[in-house]
């Protein structure tokens, strides 16, 4: 017992020093912190409930993604079979029950059609998995069924793109240090510290920002259109601001130019039209040429500017627009034009996202919480320290040193892991202060017992540590089970609590058992007392 190898002392001291060193940066002001070497920039992050800010949980509908893939597939099939000299006429196209089916008019061409479609259904990855299964039903109908792997892959890709787009949009807003992470298969968590009014952010993320230019079908019969029936090759789209009063309009299915071909979009004013807020857009080379060609061919006809499936406006083409830039008008305020500009610049979302959870904490409440948490922690620590001191004297003091070191080591480990401290995390801290001394209480009570049984000081201390260590280990394993479950299943605040609890369990065993044993042994070796007050 009394021989405590030197290397062990060094190791313990080194561990504690490292823990302390990693804890310190958390307390440094921003300016000093930034000058530290990279390895020392370990800091405990504050959760949104402490720093104030907004938390949004966005969800994409996988059904939407699957539906969109079918629409795209339909488009691809049409183009493919219409291409080249040997056109294959098809009809009866339907995309019901999540499958795409169509009839090949000439039964003799079915095999040829399958041959031409097959390359379209190949997965993009190297897995060799198909995105769609192709089968022929009733010898003339071709059915494309999306595979599970294909859908999963599509959802995954869509979410990756969505995350990037969100990232760009939020950065455009100029907020600092947003956290954007994917969660599960079809969710994205967005956390923006310091953001007070998430309304603008929500509006921005709520826009898919799919911009399309299509020609208006002027041949359509207005009464048919009002009833929602479109001529062949056209479709009916909602047009809330239609000057004619009917909130719908018929447009050609074919897309003239789309928002994918934009290089820039900014808010501006329409000087000719009473300084209305508009969005100025600029096309890239190919887009500009396409736009120029279509506008040249369709002078004096109207075209529709469509955003997320709704027509914003349908201006007349007065002259060919060749410069590659254009103006989008449509009842904007300066703010909404600005938001659309940002959304267009950052690209369209591959899928619409819905906010399914939203939490906002004001900075004042966050600051209050931190202050209350610190006061509570200090009072808790003080109470426990006093209590231990009057109960165990010198040994109580050792336990107290261990508790204080433990607090810093927890912070150090959290900094090292870049963990986030939440309000329940502070509660975890306070609780850890209370339970950390439990190990010492176990040991000291055992030493008292052994002394009462008539063992010598040395033997009692040795037995106390040895016997209690087993109990401490077992008790902490079960405690850690509870903590581990919280970490895995808990969300947000519960997770923050679990992190502190788990780190606290690990570090408290070290400080309360190993560290105090070192000091106790050191003291015993120096003074060799025959009687101890405990």
């Amino acid at each position: 017992m009394l021989d405590f190898p030197r290397w062990k002392i060094w190791l313990i001291s080194l561990t504690i020093l490292l823990g302390l060193a990693f804890a310190i940066p958390t307390f440094l002001p921003e300016r000093v912190f930034n000058q530290l070497p990279r390895a020392m920039q370990t800091r405990v992050n504050l959760g949104l409930d402490l720093s104030g800010g907004s938390h949004l949980l966005l969800e994409a509908s996988t059904a939407d993604i699957a539906k969109m893939r079918l629409v795209n597939m339909e488009e691809q099939v049409r183009t493919e079979l219409r291409r080249g000299d040997s056109k294959i006429p098809i009809g009866d196209i339907s995309s019901q029950n999540g499958k795409l089916s169509f009839m090949v008019r000439n039964a003799a061409q079915v095999d040829a059609a399958v041959e031409r479609i097959r390359p379209l259904t190949q997965g993009a990855g190297m897995t060799g998995q198909r995105d769609f299964n192709v089968e022929v039903v009733d010898s003339s109908t071709i059915v494309l069924t999306p595979t599970e792997a294909g859908i999963d892959n599509a959802v995954n890709q869509a979410m990756d793109v969505a995350k990037e787009v969100i990232d760009r949009r939020i950065n455009e807003l100029g907020t600092r240090e947003p956290t954007i992470i994917r969660q599960g298969t079809n969710r994205i968590v967005v956390q923006v510290p310091g953001l007070q009014d998430p309304g603008a952010l929500k509006n921005l993320l709520g826009q898919t920002a799919k911009l399309e230019f299509k020609l208006v079908d002027t041949t359509a019969d207005p009464t048919e259109v009002a009833q929602g029936r479109a001529p062949v090759g056209s479709e009916i789209l909602p047009y809330p601001g239609n000057p004619s009063g009917i909130p719908v309009i018929a447009v050609k299915r074919q897309v003239m130019v789309s928002g994918d071909e934009l290089t820039d979009a900014t808010q501006g004013f329409d000087t000719q039209n009473g300084n209305q807020a508009v969005v100025n857009i600029r096309f890239n080379g190919a887009g500009g040429r396409k736009f120029g060609r279509v506008t040249t061919e369709n002078v004096n006809r109207p075209f529709a500017i469509i955003l997320d499936g709704k027509v914003l406006s349908a201006p007349n083409i007065n002259e060919p627009i060749l410069g590659g830039s254009a103006q989008i008008s449509g009842n904007f305020t300066v703010e909404s034009a600005n938001q659309l500009g940002i959304a267009l610049r950052s690209g369209k979302l591959p899928v619409a996202l819905k906010v399914i959870e939203e939490r906002t904490v004001g900075p004042q409440l966050g600051a209050d919480s931190i202050r209350a948490g610190i006061i509570a922690s200090c009072i808790a620590a003080l109470g426990v320290i006093l209590f231990m001191l009057v109960s165990y004297g010198r040994f109580g003091m050792y336990a107290n040193i261990a508790v204080v070191i433990n607090i810093f080591v927890i912070l150090g480990v959290m900094g090292l892991l870049n963990a986030t401290l939440t309000l329940p995390g502070i509660a975890g801290f306070v609780l850890t202060i209370g339970t950390a001394v439990d190990a010492n209480v176990l040991i000291y009570e055992r030493i008292r017992e052994e002394r009462r049984r008539g063992r010598s000081v040395m033997q009692s201390v040795e037995f106390g540590y040895k016997e209690a260590s087993r109990t401490i280990f077992e008790a902490n394993v079960t405690h850690a089970i509870a903590g581990g479950i919280m970490l895995v299943l808990g969300s947000g605040p519960v997770k923050g609590f679990a992190i502190v609890l788990l780190i606290g369990i690990a570090t408290s065993v070290f400080t309360a058992v190993t560290f105090t044993r070192m000091i106790v042994v050191n003291w015993l070796r120096r003074t060799r007392p025959t009687e101890i007050t405990i």
């Binding site: 939203e358 509660a427 808990g490 519960v494």
Partner: protein, 328 residues
């Protein structure tokens, strides 16, 4: 210097003797708790039922009836108001708007905040949560799953580690602790939110900690005093660990008391739940779980069957026998 000793040396309290009363009391309290949950229900927060929660801080304590009328006039659905720790802070809960449009929630928040601001100019809104039904269903399910997994996982651990009797007695005692906590929330109608699930899990962790220490001592004594009557042995073990049980409960209570009083209103429910849990957990450790071992038929001889696995520890204990033998 004379040190503080809360529990005198060598206590000999007959915990096992009163076990029938303790069991009866425990069963009664548990039934009451379950009945309270059944009758009054839990005041589930938006985390678990979905909806919109706003926290408003007024200049001076507002007349709740008037605030309610002000909001009712907006025709935004069933509003529920609750004072939040101090009388100036009020939580306002509303159902989420039917429309799935992104702007709808924003508009609702703006409408309610505007109306209240017009009546009480000094008011400030410090946070708001909007949780959709889908998310709240997941959260409630995850919470139940987490608690069940924790209880079962720990019971299985102590079953493998010791005897099945330990597993069962621990399971029973922890279920009691959890149900009592739920009963407390049903009676006080404090808001039951995500943080409280964390509190319940912590109570489980703490309570199990307590029981492990006593169980561990029982096991040690079973090996030490093979001929001792089980009742006496359990009493001895509980008495031997009593100073530690009291000391630790007190230090944790101290820490939690500080949190309850000074930790701010957001953590108040959490701290209250934890404090109650410590009291209940300590009670069930001392009076219920250990005494239950007798009713479950735990006998010292049981260890003999497992002796091979514990040979190494057994040797150590034998070596100590002369010293220990002097005691009882």
């Amino acid at each position: 210097m004379r040190l503080l000793k809360l529990v005198p040396d060598n206590t000999n309290i007959g915990f096992v003797a009163v076990r029938k009363i303790a069991f009866a009391l425990t069963v009664l309290l548990t039934i009451l708790a379950v009945a309270a949950v059944g009758a009054r229900g839990l005041n589930l927060g938006v985390d678990f039922v979905g909806g919109l929660m706003m926290e408003a801080k007024f200049d001076s304590p507002p007349p709740l009836d008037r605030v309610r009328k002000d909001i009712d006039r907006l025709n935004v659905g069933d509003v529920s108001l609750q004072q939040f720790g101090d009388p100036r802070t009020v939580s306002i809960r509303l159902p989420l708007p039917e429309s799935s449009d992104e702007g709808a929630t924003n508009a609702l928040v703006a409408k309610v905040q505007g109306a209240i601001k017009a009546e009480y100019p000094g008011v400030s809104f410090s946070r708001y949560d909007a949780v959709s039904g889908k998310v709240s269903d997941e959260l409630i399910w995850n919470g139940i799953l987490a608690v069940m997994l924790a209880v079962v996982g720990i019971a299985i651990f102590s079953w493998f580690r010791y005897e099945w009797q330990f597993g069962v007695s621990t399971f029973v005692a922890i279920m009691h602790d959890v149900l009592m906590t739920l009963g407390f929330f049903a009676i006080t109608q404090l808001e039951f939110d995500l943080n409280i699930v964390a509190a319940v899990l912590t109570i489980i962790g703490y309570s199990i900690n307590d029981k492990m220490v006593i169980d561990d001592r029982i096991r040690e004594n079973m090996r030490k005093y093979r001929k001792m009557d089980m009742k006496a042995l359990i009493d001895l073990s509980v008495n031997e660990t009593l100073p530690r049980t009291v000391m630790t409960s007190l230090t944790v209570t101290l820490a939690l008391g500080a949190l309850l009083i000074f930790g701010g209103h957001v953590l108040r429910g959490f701290s209250a739940a934890m404090l109650l849990g410590i009291v209940v957990g300590t009670y069930s450790s001392v009076y219920v779980s250990s005494s239950l071992l007798i009713s479950l038929g735990l006998k010292p001889q049981i260890l003999d069957r497992k002796a091979t696995g514990l040979a190494a520890e057994g040797e150590r204990v034998t070596a100590r026998a002369p010293v220990d033998g002097a005691r009882p």
